[in-house]
Symmetry: C2
Subunit: 170 residues, 2 copies
């Protein structure tokens, strides 16, 4: 049964992996994005806004060219830089993430100040969950500290099966 939606759910099961009111999800993120850009000074132009909406339509990571196709059919430019620039803008302003493993992008569901999540990617349904990764990063920082290496950015991405697909497989 669909779970009731709480205002600020500290999801023990990320929303990506469970049925939820996705419309609300989108709206919330778009609102937050506007706020955030007001603070930071960035402009949420039509292409950029549409790009974010496209990313938000599913809990999936999308390739730049997939986004581009969508933009092109909606009357925006059809050359790669159009998508890359919009995506880069979103990433720079903390509104989207870039997933290295997939060479793909996803909307950021929790735009916030210092925000460096880990990702869980379901290989069966492509669902993508964004987890607070503080403990993981701490562990990594510990290791690195011993070596004298200074971490500037770290990528933590896991591929596997989400709860839904685990059940489906059984």
């Amino acid at each position: 049964m669909p779970e009731p939606l709480e205002p600020e759910p500290l999801e023990s099961v990320p929303a990506a992996f469970a049925p939820h009111d996705h419309r609300a999800c989108e709206t919330r993120v778009l609102d937050e994005a506007a706020d955030r850009l007001a603070e930071l000074g960035g402009r949420l132009t039509p292409v950029r806004r549409r790009t974010l909406e496209i990313l938000l339509e599913s809990h999936r990571a999308m390739g730049a060219y997939e986004v581009l196709d969508r933009l092109a059919t909606e009357g925006f430019g059809r050359q790669p830089p159009v998508a890359y620039r919009a995506l880069e803008f979103l990433v720079e302003h903390g509104l989207a993430h870039r997933l290295q493993r997939l060479n793909a992008f996803a909307a950021c569901l929790h735009p916030g100040r210092d925000h460096a999540p880990a990702f869980l990617i379901c290989r069966a349904c492509d669902a993508l969950a964004e987890l607070p990764a503080a403990p993981v990063r701490a562990a990594l920082a510990d290791l690195a500290a011993d070596t004298g290496f200074i971490i500037e950015r770290a990528t933590i991405e896991a591929v596997g099966l989400c709860p839904v697909c685990v059940k489906a497989a059984a």
Copy 2:
């Protein structure tokens, strides 16, 4: 994969970040590779062996096309699949790693020991260190377990400055 793990002679500063007898380093890995393949049944053919040697020549991650150029000038095929297949073989047999963040490959310096290391990549000198990542993975597994997600593979890569370049910068 479930292999007896010898006590790891873990350098507190990975060899990649410090001067060391690299010739010995190469020889050791090549020997271990041969052993490992004898067990597993893989064949270390000329292209494959040469590919591993090329990766071993530096503590860096190399692009597939960089490897391919080397192979081609040495008389092997000059089409991409030549390099990709050899690299894929090495990765499958635990003799090399694929770095997602860089779209690149590196020789595995500890074949058979820690099959799932974390990587530290120096953005200044491209040095690459391979660290046992058990604690990091444990932390990640913890997070994932709460969600019911089953991790099959995880990528943990950090970019920053190695000790040598930190000093150089100062």
